[in-house]
Symmetry: C2
Subunit: 247 residues, 2 copies
DNA sequence: CGAAGTATTGAGGTTCATCAATACCGGTGG
DNA sequence: CCACCGGTATTGATGAACCTCAATACTTCG
């Protein structure tokens, strides 16, 4: 239907990704919020020896849909998208992940969706087999992973309501509020969206033109302000919430 | 937008549901496929003492969206739907569960979606607090639950592609194939759908009329046969698969 | 056989996708 | 600093897909 192509370089991930210097958990910014948070110092050290840090540029893909599941990772910094596509190239973004989130498919042979960096990013990357083995021996880790997966599932199901039953206008309002919740704006309350218009369209299951039209209309009505390509200020939260509605 | 109402009785679930007689895991039909499969006899006994069997009639709702999460359960027999709605009554079915599946939200305060029996069903029901406690002490159980949740998440994300990017025709084809995979047909290859046309519409994020039109058209083209309200035979699998396409 | 509920069919309207042109942003080099 | 250029976003015109409303037909169950 639409055969868009990613402008960004889709280089081979694991070999290409530059391992980066520092590699101690002590200084890790996500050590208290990632799945390793409940491990004691010794166990965390052991886990860290299994993995390594890698840096990604915006646009790089870490894993592809349908590939063997060979790696999993913690996101240390940056924003990434999870996506699946139809055979003819229509794409649906099925998740957006941020610092301290976990990516990849542990305990399974296949990666069910691609993972691509939207901004420059840093990961703490583990070979899946070694990670699985470690997790089997550490209940706390598995419990954290379960908690996180259950939360992901809840969020994903809530998003199904949006995809299946909401209008374009409601979709955009819901998206903007969701972004507002995750990203803290600057002094003026302006949020820097990590997604292009096309990517927003791919999250919401609509076209880029529809996203654009809805946003300019909301601007005209004073619900939001648009600043540059990536900036938005949610001027009238109440109106947006009324639109996003849902349950 | 559409203010449909469930004809079925939405009675209070846990008190109303009739506890049923037999209650030994030894004879349980799902004991080797449900999450308790990896427990040893002693542990499974201990778990079974926490829970109880209940029977549901088609149409009964076991838990409501937004409720406190007070119970979780294994499905022993029957088919149930998981659903969320917008404030104005539009419904999206976010999952369909079968025998040996697990329902409810462990390790969380809220039930994020309603659970309603589509057919008569039997559950093995646990108070959430007691179940959580038991799970914390039994890594095998938590591991099974994690596996199952990861699988659910994969399936749910695959469904997002359908909701966001597929046409009505592709949606129906995908749905029918999915049903064919889960439900074994009779001697003639006729499958008895556990969902009404309206419920199919609610799974696919379209209207009942569109479901109906697509199915009659597929029938006219010889891809499927319709027998009665709930019966379908997938006559031309190849054609259906070409339509469902995806990746 | 009749009634209630469910599904199909039809006519018409709305929303959103598609195709196409123009405008804008932000970085690079003159 | 300005002009230019590639890429991205907006805007417009048109049409198709799907929704809505309404009537009819079919199933199933008492």
């Amino acid at each position: 239907m639409d055969m868009r192509f990613d402008m960004a370089q889709n280089v081979a991930p694991v070999p290409m990704a530059r391992p980066c210097s520092g590699h101690s958990c002590d200084a890790c910014v996500v050590r208290d919020s990632a799945i390793c948070a409940d491990l004691n110092d010794g166990d965390r050290d052991a886990l860290s020896r299994i993995g390594r840090r890698v840096a990604l540029h915006a646009g790089q893909t870490v894993m592809w849909e349908g590939d063997d599941s060979t790696v999993v990772a913690n996101v240390i910094e940056g924003t990434l998208k999870l996506a699946t596509s139809t055979g003819d190239g229509r794409e649906q973004i099925v998740g957006v992940v941020y610092a301290s989130d976990f990516i990849g498919r542990p305990f399974g042979a296949r990666t069910p969706h691609s993972v691509t960096a939207l901004t420059d990013a840093r990961l703490c990357l583990f070979p899946r087999g070694a990670f699985d083995g470690f997790a089997m021996r550490h209940g706390e880790l598995q419990h954290r992973l379960l908690q996180r997966t259950l939360d992901d599932l809840d969020r994903t199901r809530a998003w199904m309501l949006l995809l299946g039953r909401k209008s374009a206008r409601e979709k955009v309002a819901t998206f903007l509020l969701d972004m507002g919740r995750r990203l803290r704006g600057d002094a003026d309350g302006v949020i820097a969206l990590p997604l292009s218009r096309q990517q927003i369209a791919d999250v919401l299951g609509i076209t880029i033109e529809t996203v654009s039209r809805q946003m300019t209309e909301m601007k005209r009505e004073g619900m939001i302000d648009l600043v540059g390509r990536r900036g938005v200020r949610l001027a009238d939260m109440a109106a947006l919430e009324a639109l996003a509605e849902a349950g």
